[in-house]
Symmetry: C2
């Protein structure tokens, strides 16, 4: 017996049904991106290590997979690594190709990334990211379009969501106002946990991170305003919240700039697509969430996170505005905004809520089952005609036992079997069996094409 | 100035137009696969090195990219490698998942592979393969369907091709008949070069490879029968050729088995899709080519190669039948047949012959250009309606100089610009400019949706 085959831990094979479902998610997202004029690019799986190193913090550097070129001599000092995310390769792409690119550059990218994380439930070493960004414009139309895209994608997928939105400038303003302008990262890291650990624990962590008691006290109005568990149908009034915030942040220039940006985003939503505002707990709503921080340090303006209302799974889409992503590659001051759809989590939500369309179960609409060589040729001729009419058809490749052929159709969830025997051939027909109802009917080629098996 | 960004040699970025064109190829192929009931799977980019090593010969082992997990201790002895082709991972997949799979198993797979080859024109270190196989049946319907798929794919792409077909059993028979049964590989390697180096050089190589003069003499009828340069429209009569071969191979059991398989394949083509037989030089033809050998040793039956008639680029699709691909992973005697479409070469043929559809040039159908903030909001509302009707729309994100907005539309090949000023808003219309003809017209929302910009 040869070696027992397996794949590296943290990686996955995707079978036919999983692929059909994953393609359904990607195609839905891709179609929506297309309606907004975002166009696809791809970058290589391998990047130079110099492109990747130092971009994801010390922890991130350790999680890079390095590539040894076994044909080369210096095999011990790898110069290449596998893509860790789509953001850094995108920044590299924009700088490298700046002369060919028309700005504002609207791109999307759907490709796998690799991280040498410890594998565990829901965390893989290879997974797809699905990023959409517009770069080269600081217009808040970018934020508006991403909100519209989120709404449209989740409407098409049938997932009810709440889009949480905040602004890094507001967070910076808060840090200033409470007298700890250098501690913005500490503050955001701590308050990001509010949902999970509660106000008291957050306050403890803030003190541990070196905030004075006075600063913690000053921060309390931010921590204790809603939203937290939103009552269903509660009126969602970001304007009132922003007005309060204006007073709280009165002494901070950057904080007020953040408030202004949020006011403009909400005005744009209201002026163009008022239906999007939503009420908490509805199919789609937008919530100004001052405790949303997001980990990544390159964000400088609006930040987003999307949560599914009917599944406990954390954020399924997130992103924000960045003002200097390409600076590290020599092109400073280019502003952009983008979001990333978490395909694996979306898959889990659709599975849990049973929202995948039935027809993904089978690609093939009709299987031809035959009793002999002549019937097989007859079936092959019919199959040709059906395919020419866009119908997906299989012909069981041997005129074997009917039970075996029927079993094949059942295993593959093929909805119709066309049985061909001598009688059927003599009448220039087939016996079409509906595999769900069990009903059988003698039909002509035209009848199949025109009425019988259309979904 | 920061580091100048670049990518590893032999890898590529794909920009928007390249991606649109590549997706056109992949989508065309994928649709045809779907009509025949082939379903997609994906395997991880990384495989265990034990899965990959020894499968591609000594040369192949050297071309594997190995992966170092920098977070792990034993960083110097990699255990994982990047996928080198789709065939070995497919064999591994079939064995690993044999309990879940319904046989015959019809799968396709479109994913990148990596080889540490020396990069050169047309040879990359990362490139996509696009494989389709049916495994678990020795029915020659498999061969028939692959022939039909090749014809359909290239008809849809508009590329005229000749499908060369041969059979490894016939080659084995020839080796037997000339008295060199152990030299089949040497013979096939040499005669595979007939097109390039001519009969005399092939004979020299055969002698160098240890064939006796007598064997070389006996081989001559095979080397000197057509096909070589096929006269246009020449009657393509594989039956006559197979009849001659029957006599030549009369003493070889395996050779006669090969002839029989080829006769059955040609009969199946004739019985089911006579239009496919074709005449040499036509849009599609099939040619029995006794000098077709194909390098890979796992083939055991029919082998195929497809050449574009109007471009000098070598084989653009190839494959064949194998009887023991999964044996190395512990599942012997499973017969399958498959082919691989060479996406990069198909891309080059379509480029050279100018066959890519015009509409791939731009995804966006209308750009809204505006003069002020109110116009921008008006445009955003229109954009929402157009998108709801499936029309891809962009709104230039700032009401900047008209020249800049028009330049953006030109650079992106957007066919229509909807200009919005105060007058247009007052009439609830936009000025729609056809960017090809220069023609302008004041139109309503309904007019755009229903007639103006449909492709």
């Amino acid at each position: 017996m040869a070696q027992k085959p397996s794949i590296p831990k943290g990686t996955r094979d995707f079978g036919q049904l999983e692929m059909a479902r994953r393609n359904y998610i990607f195609n839905t997202i891709r179609s929506v991106f297309g309606l907004y004029g975002f166009q696809q690019i791809e970058t290589p799986a391998m990047e130079n290590l110099s492109t990747l190193m130092g971009k994801y913090g010390e922890e991130g550097d350790k999680l890079l997979f390095r590539i040894q070129n076994s044909g080369e001599k210096a095999a011990l000092t790898p110069e290449k690594g596998l893509r860790y995310d789509l953001t850094v390769p995108f920044a590299r792409y924009v700088v490298q190709h700046r002369e060919e690119i028309t700005f504002p550059f609207k791109r999307f990218q759907i490709q796998p990334v690799w991280r040498a994380d410890r594998p565990q439930k829901g965390r893989y070493r290879e997974f797809y990211q699905c990023d959409v960004d517009v770069i080269g414009s600081d217009s808040l139309i970018g934020e508006l379009e991403l909100i519209q895209i989120v709404e449209e994608v989740y409407r098409r997928l049938g997932i009810n969501v709440c889009l949480h939105i905040n602004n890094r400038k507001i967070l910076a303003g808060i840090a200033e106002v409470i007298g700890e302008p250098d501690k913005m990262i500490d503050i955001t890291v701590a308050i990001d946990k509010l949902d999970k650990i509660g106000v008291e624990a957050v306050n403890d962590e803030l003190r541990e991170r070196g905030l004075s008691d006075e600063a913690v006290t000053k921060l309390q109005p931010i921590l204790t305003t809603p939203p937290q568990p939103s009552p269903q149908g509660r009126e969602n009034d970001p304007k009132a919240k922003l007005a309060e915030l204006r007073e709280y942040l009165a002494s901070s220039e950057i904080g007020l700039k953040g408030v202004e940006e949020m006011e403009e985003i909400f005005s744009l939503v209201e002026a163009t697509t008022p239906s999007l505002k939503g009420r908490a707990g509805e199919r789609f709503s937008i919530e100004l969430d001052l405790c949303l921080a997001r980990g990544l340090n390159y964000y400088t303006g609006a930040i987003f996170e999307v949560k599914a209302l009917d599944a406990q799974i954390g954020s399924i889409t997130g992103g924000g505005r960045y003002d200097n992503l390409t600076g590290i590659f020599g092109l400073p001051n280019v502003s952009g905004v983008g979001i990333s759809f978490g395909a694996d989590r979306i898959y889990d939500v659709l599975s849990e809520l049973n929202l995948f369309p039935e027809e993904l179960q089978s690609a093939t609409q009709v299987l031809f089952a035959t009793f002999g060589q002549d019937e097989l040729c007859y079936a092959l001729r019919w199959a040709k005609e059906l395919r020419a009419n866009g119908i997906a058809v299989e012909v069981y490749p041997e005129p074997t036992k009917m039970k075996k052929q029927m079993g094949y159709a059942n295993d593959k969830n093929i909805p119709f079997v066309a049985i061909v025997g001598g009688d059927e051939m003599a009448q220039n027909k087939v016996m079409l069996k509906n595999m769900t109802s069990g009903e059988q009917q003698l039909v002509s080629l035209d009848e199949i094409i025109n009425e019988k098996i259309r979904k």
